[in-house]
Symmetry: C2
Subunit: 124 residues, 2 copies
């Protein structure tokens, strides 16, 4: 998969988090997230694309007007990808910063998205 | 698995990268890395613990006196872990900084270690 394809996948994936219409989210995730993909962040473990469409809807209900933005380019090797993002609240302030570490499916869609929030803890 | 166990796993895993004796590396990885685990960074995809023992030996030959140090605490949820590290050359200067995103096996050892080098690319 070329860089352009990965950029397109991530663009569709990010747009899915901002789409308030469930059928639009389903279309965007169909183009970017495997049907049996896994999404997991500190707050939720979500199995499958259909469940992720619903999970994003729940996030939007809990945080109306939230906007997800990718804040770095993707760093990729051997079918793995990392990128940074943040989620702004309706007031425009950054509410959560995050890092997603992903595994790509053979067809280039996201098979696994593991999210981490905020900064890495300091060394103890 | 509790925090103490994860700390111990990561301590043994980090020590394995600094052990110049292959049998010592094998012992340290047996305590921290699954037998059929996957290690993958931008420079290498290494399948299995035995192959990782050899891979680390190759790194040490190419970079004598190198020292791996974990530089953050682990950030963990749902059996996934991230932490930062750096590799110092024999002169003490940091040669590579990295982030490892890991999956834990059910017994708490590392099942998958996906490493990324340096900073995440800027947004294009």
């Amino acid at each position: 998969m070329g860089k352009t394809d990965l950029d397109k996948v991530l663009q569709n994936y990010g747009a899915a988090w901002n789409a308030t219409d469930a059928s639009e989210r389903a279309t965007l995730l169909a183009a970017s997230f495997a049907k049996d993909g896994l999404y997991c962040d500190p707050s939720a473990r979500v199995e499958g694309r259909t469940a992720l469409v619903a999970h994003i809807g729940g996030m939007q209900e809990g945080m109306p007007g939230a906007l997800l933005e990718l804040t770095s380019g993707p760093d990729t090797h051997h079918g793995f990808v990392r990128f940074h993002w943040h989620l702004r609240g309706a007031d425009g302030a950054v509410a959560i910063t995050g890092l997603d570490c992903c595994t790509l499916a053979d067809d280039g869609r996201l098979q696994q998205v593991i999210g981490f929030f905020g900064e890495v803890p300091a060394l103890q």
